[in-house]
Symmetry: C2
Subunit: 468 residues, 2 copies
């Protein structure tokens, strides 16, 4: 069986920690592990799993691969990289086609979103075993979660025994209450199991146009290299964006639902739930970094704070999420509507919807530390062996101060080393590169100075990560 981990969707209700380029799967929980890392561990812990497919946006690939490496999972992994998000049906279609191409149509797939939690691995494994049996009988299998509250934020599956009768999109409250009472309705967890050939047949029947376009995109894509398949941008952009629920499951009469075990599933879809994982103080406040918070007569507040001091005075039922460049203050009861803030920022093209001041790169990451008239400062961290592309800026000089490790600097023809506590500088118009030849992380402060400091003032001559 192949575990297919889907890493799409921003998780906009968790803004400002989630961003387009730092989506929900990367958010770290109190134990320091991200949702996606936990998903990789879970995918590998299913006894039947023999390989892993990861479908993600190409812009977050390096970070995804890093999380996989850090998970310690040892499944052979293939990364299918989308140039843009097209919802779940195209992602699953690509995984299905690639599975058939490499392993044939009998191969079962287990599709796992990378942005929820499952507490009970043993129960989960048992459920997967049952799903696999049904998948081998050519069923499309969904994983239903027995509702514990009249949730209006999830889709529901109506079941008769193991047979799925009907899929319902997010219902109004009265209906959700009726579903809860009936005992026949289950939350749709977004996890699926099926044979590759079965799903191919269903896609051919219910979404032939979509399937053709994904096939065309795969055909136009370069061959797999280093475990990566980069879907061709132009053709993939023409694939319709639609969920697998809508494209297939709502239409097919061939759907089963497994519900037998309480697997400890939780969606953690909003700040309310994410903060709810932390312990409360005597006044019901839950704070991520209590040592940086001063709560005075504050009650039942959720505070997700980081480096800055947060003081709250005489407030109740507030959600306060503080990040380096953006702050959210919301009524706790409105946690579901945080997405409207994200949507608005995105519409307005604001940087705060797109990325954090910390940006992950194939060579490591940088943190924008400060900027002002004629300057910008960044912290750069290069992994051992990593090198930034050979490049040139027309309008800015760059000054590098090595804080930790040893830098190998190329400046036009010259190559030299800069040790910790030393610095060098690169005049505008000079070809340059920095590399980390060592075995420990290289940390340097980059100060850019000049009249124009836009990221687009860059000419790349050579890049270890194919970005020229």
């Amino acid at each position: 069986m192949i575990s297919v981990v889907l890493c799409g969707g921003v998780g906009s209700r968790l803004w400002p920690v989630s961003r387009e380029l730092y989506p929900k799967p990367f958010i770290r929980l109190a134990d320091g592990q991200s949702f996606i890392k936990k998903t990789f561990v879970r995918a590998a812990a299913v006894p039947e799993a023999e390989a892993l497919f990861v479908v993600s946006n190409r812009r977050i690939h390096f970070k995804t691969a890093e999380e996989y490496a850090a998970s310690g999972a040892s499944l052979a992994a293939t990364f299918i990289l989308e140039p843009c998000g097209r919802n779940t049906a195209p992602a699953i279609a690509a995984a299905v086609l690639e599975a058939i191409r490499t392993r044939g149509p009998e191969m079962p797939l287990l599709v796992l979103p990378s942005d929820h939690l499952i507490a009970n691995q043993e129960g989960f494994n048992a459920l997967v075993s049952r799903a696999l049996e049904l998948a081998r009988e050519n069923r499309l299998v969904t994983f239903g979660i027995r509702p514990t509250r009249p949730e209006t934020g999830f889709g529901y599956i109506e079941a008769e025994g193991e047979r799925a009768i009907r899929f319902v999109e997010k219902p109004p409250l009265a209906q959700a209450e009726a579903y809860l009472a009936s005992g026949r309705f289950f939350w749709n967890s977004g996890m699926f199991c099926f044979r590759a050939g079965t799903m191919l047949g269903e896609l051919e029947r219910y979404a032939p146009e979509l399937l053709r376009r994904v096939e065309a995109s795969l055909a136009a894509s370069p061959a797999e290299r280093d475990g990566r398949i980069e879907l061709a941008a132009e053709s993939f952009a023409r694939v319709p964006a639609v969920s697998i629920d809508r494209a297939v499951f709502e239409k097919s009469g061939n759907v089963s639902v497994v519900t037998g075990e309480d697997i400890g599933w939780s969606d953690v879809g909003s700040w309310r739930e994410l903060c709810g994982l932390r312990p409360a103080d005597a006044d019901g406040n839950r704070t991520s970094h209590p040592e940086k918070a001063v709560l005075a007569e504050a009650k039942n507040c959720l505070v997700d704070n980081h480096s800055r001091l947060v003081a709250a005075l005489g407030v109740e039922n507030l959600l306060i999420v503080d990040t380096e460049d953006a702050l959210l203050v919301a009524d706790k009861g409105r946690a579901q509507d945080v997405r409207t803030i994200y949507d608005r920022l995105k519409r307005e093209g604001r940087e705060e919807a797109l990325r954090h001041p910390t940006v992950f790169k194939p060579w490591g990451y940088y943190v924008l530390m400060g900027e002002g008239e004629r300057f910008k400062t960044k912290l750069l961290a290069l992994k051992p062996g990593a090198r930034i592309s050979l490049q040139l800026h027309h309008h800015r000089s760059e000054h590098w101060i090595v804080v930790r490790g040893m830098a190998e600097v190329t400046r036009e023809g010259e190559v030299f080393f800069v040790n910790s506590n030393e610095s060098t500088f690169i005049k505008a118009g000079t070809r340059h590169r920095v590399a980390n030849p060592g075995k420990v992380e290289l940390v340097l402060i980059e100060v850019q100075s000049g009249d124009y400091l836009g990221e687009d003032d860059i000419v790349r001559f050579e890049d270890a990560y194919g970005r020229t």
Copy 2:
């Protein structure tokens, strides 16, 4: 007449913008001018004023002097610098003694706090004229403000015509309501007028110990230099901390109150009042930087924001004050209690009560931009002609990148120039200094690197501002 501007008190209800080293008088209003600058302008616009005394903490002297210079006021100014805050009675006693020493006991003084607003200068001048007449009759004159609401945060003066009958400290609400209704009670504005000799006599009578100690401190202080009198630290620390109201006005039977004009006085003592000076949007929200705020279904909120994006969702009557290193979220009705947060931070010795990441220095200012393991980055801005002390660090190297202007760098025996977009570095253990020989501000980025980056790793050899 000498105008005496008092610059003491933190204005802790305006934390986190006000800090111990950036007290309320320095806070800028919407027009870009600080309270203290407006006070200097006001003090100079009184026709009878012929000189200015400024009593402030020595740690904020350079900033105070800068604000005075920027005010354009041309009164001859003497700065009396306190080593520590001792409330208003010692500050006024020092001004009285200095006035008598230099001008004799007949000289009238007009005492002005530097942290409130007066909209009507003409009315104010008329009130001062009347106060001066009374002062020349050897009266201690207070300036009463006719109450417009049953304010519980101010002291009151009971008056019979121009005679002050009684001083009352902050009253409970019912009493404040009765005062408002009576028409006999006025707010105590903290402004006073008297002949120096009159106040000396009253101090001798009601606060002889305090007077003796201030005299001793002045006697132990070095002579005036460049318009500055630095009160001797050891002796001034022994002066009791007490307000002039308590020390003299409450006890003396010789107090007048002038109330004749509506001078447009406002205390602007809390965020509620400070934000109230800004226009409200259709939902009653008042925001300092609307372009950096996203308010969704937020009502009647006060938002004081600066560089970061602030999003508010579904909240009402909140006060949100966001600064570089500290955030305050409070119920608007609790604006008076913000001081409890400040007091707590001060008790805990937190940096956020003491100073901002932006720190004013005699040579200009620096901004702490970022710090991490083994590094710290600062922006330094040196005024034209300014020079940092010749110094040495044992544990850190310093790297200087010139962003604007031209730097003159001394490194051991060597003196050289570093132009914009160029950089240099100073190894640990090397004597060094940077100066701005130019006519424009010098801006540079300083990156410190090393094992130990505490501010106390500094040996000063020579300092233009007497700090060796």
